[in-house]
Amino acid sequence: MALDRKIAYINLSTREVEIKPIPLEMRKKFIGGRGMDAYLLYNHAPEGCDPLGPENPLIVSGGLLTATCASATARTHVMAKSPLTGLLGSCNMGGFFAPELAWAGFHHLVITGKADKPVYLWIHNGDIEIRDAEYLWGKNSTDTQWAIRNELDDQEVKSMVIGQAGENLVTYACVMTGIKNAGGRTGMGCVMGSKNLKAVAVRGTMDVKIAHPKDALEHNKKFIDQITSAKVNQIQGALGTPFIWGATNCWGGVRTRNFQYNQMEYADEIEPEAIDDIATETMGPHHMTGCFGCQVHCRAQYKIQSGLYAGKYDEGPEYTSLGAFGAEPDCKSAETVLTGNHLVNQYGVDNLEIGSMIAWAMELYELGILTQKETEGIDLRFGNDEALLQMVHNICTRTGWLGNVLADGGIPAAEKIGKNSFDYLIQVKGMNNLHSDERATPGLALNIATASRGSDHLRSRPAIDLYHLPEPVLRKIYGSPVPYDGPLSSEHTEYIGKPWQVFWQENVYMAVDCLGICKYHTVFLGATLPNFEDWPEVIYYNTGLEFTPKEIWDAAERCNNLERLFNLREGLTRNDPKKGDTLNHRYFDEPCRRGAPDVIGKKIDRDKFNVMIDEFYDHHGWDKEGVPTSETLQRLGLENEPTRLL
């Protein structure tokens, strides 16, 4: 059975729409989702293009399995050149958007050009229409979605939208769908804003064919059982991602006060169980919700209990909101965390980035690099909840000198603030790090230094490294589908074997992003969750395509190399502190001072770190500068890119 799936090219300047089928050979090579997006970006973005210019393609997609009868294939992927980093822009969100796009007849959209006034796309059962959005401009992310539903008179319409942050071209604005699903990283909402594109609204009642429906259904049951029986997912289903924050903070892996500490002490009021109590009180015992087709249900629903926003309904908070509005600014109030979470969802801004930016500014303020003059009277010290929330407003609306400067992103802001402010910016490739502290965990440090979209945990983090798994178990996981007999260590404070683990995780995460599956359904937080060996059946039953585990691995590696090629083309070099595979000097110079006894005193060893990078490149078949060798490109069939087949 042929997979009849389509891609649409939409030019907002000329208002032209072209629809094409996606050839099967492309599936074999790039699978779908993020991998296919990487192909499209490498082929459609002109070298050195302005991220906010009309030629930057905004690519929106669902994965190969999206909307099929496989578990948790709800993820939407968005790619473009990033206005934050000038390199690869890429983000991924849950919810119900990508499946609806599939039922509306499309798996990939390539949006270029720039509308002369605000517009939104209306995609409905194979039709694509460009509609006026002037009445939506200025609305927050949820109001926009409800207004579109009312205009189209269909409450089932799903929209991917920007809030005011995207309109105001905050370089780390999100795309949003539903209440809290955010494609947060690398400023894809800013790219939407630059195109005057307020929303992409979709509604579909068309079939997504299933190759072997009975087998797919039975297999899905088995698969779901494997996923929900994992302990991490049971905890996740009760407490959501804050559980990771709680556990990490317990031993000292949570970045606090920008980078001064690796733990927030006496954090009882905002620990996951405390947040869960509030959710239970305001929404009842069954307050967890989830994405399409997912039985993990990792998101909490809550109402803010007190303060300016008392009574407001929202969803979350996730790990990042506890970091952004808790540990980083050193605020210990649940009200602040829940309010901050609400604000970023409404404005449509990356909570991770905005939290890091404000914490950075707070440290600069305490150091005297920023003063009351620049903050225009805001007392921007750590622990000032009011100042924190005020800065969220100021950044998203670009109010005041500092709000405006911080809205441009870390590196441009450091240039404007001057002095040695850059030294305190905890970034890689121009993007701030997750609110985690990797000084005690070299494998995790290698992950953020080399992640393709800038400092990021969801590209290659070997999170199970923290579980001290016995070596035979590690070998079982990391030794397939490609044999590996090099060193592996159960010690997460060690350097040995980590480059292979990071390389393996990089491929596994690429594969799930290509399939459109959520990362909680693979080897991210749980060692017993599905990986390469488990996917061929799911793919076959649902799509009829035959892949071996090794073929999935190869495709993932191919797609990762495409992202690398894009980054190299746009200026990445190994040791560039602003665009390279590097870490802030504080990782190497300042030891951890809090947490578990074995964490105290830990910092990253420069030489060993460099050896890790060498090894990591080596596993990829990259040279010492991190450039794929011609043999590698040939092995992966990338020697002729860009080939413009799509």
Binding site: A67, T68, C69, F96, W103, T142, W146, Q155, G178, I179, T205, M206, D207, V208, K209, I210, P213, A216, L217, N220, K221, I224, T228, M283, G284, P285, H286, H287, M288, T289, G290, C291, F292, G293, C294, Q295, H297, Q301, Y313, E315
Partner: protein, 162 residues
């Protein structure tokens, strides 16, 4: 004993897995528009309510059908549509007070929940048990219990406050 599908909307996470598996089970395709169960949402407040056929005793859909395409299954008691007979007039779609009757634009016929012939897939897949398949007498017993529990909790609270 006849069994019924019962819905506890409080427990529903809104994931719509039930819609997915229902359409795959009955139509061999993934398409919630063709699912017999449908989750109605008030996303603004986080309220999700799965809507499904009640297999009414005095069923309006059966009564209104001009060609008698809808009849009761003698073994399981559910109402089913005879696709050979259905003329696609959609009278039943219009009259069902719950919106539980669907219309398939591909086949141009109506469809409704048939309890998957006795093993409802929505129940099988819903891990939070928001839809359950229980004997008739247990339904009202359960409902009574839950209602009573709520009442006694309210009373306890009132006493505590008082």
């Amino acid at each position: 004993m006849e069994k019924f599908l019962t819905v506890d909307a409080d427990k529903c996470t809104g994931c719509r897995l039930c819609e997915q598996v229902c359409s795959v089970m009955h139509e061999g395709v993934s398409n919630p528009a063709k699912s017999r169960i449908q989750v109605v949402k008030w996303e603004q407040e986080g309220v999700y309510i799965p809507v499904i056929c009640k297999q009414c005793e005095d069923a309006p859909c059966m009564n209104v059908c001009p060609v008698r395409a809808i009849s009761r299954d003698p073994d399981f008691g559910f109402l089913k549509v005879d696709q050979e007979v259905c003329i696609g007039c959609r009278s039943c779609v219009g009259i069902c007070p719950f919106g539980a009757m669907g219309y398939n634009p591909t086949t141009r016929q109506v469809f409704k929940c048939d309890l998957c012939g006795g093993d409802p897939q929505c129940v099988r897949f819903c891990e939070v048990n928001a839809v359950e398949f229980v004997p008739v007498d247990r339904v009202s017993a359960q409902k009574k219990r839950r209602g009573a529990a709520r009442q006694s909790a309210a009373e306890r609270q009132a006493t505590a406050l008082g």
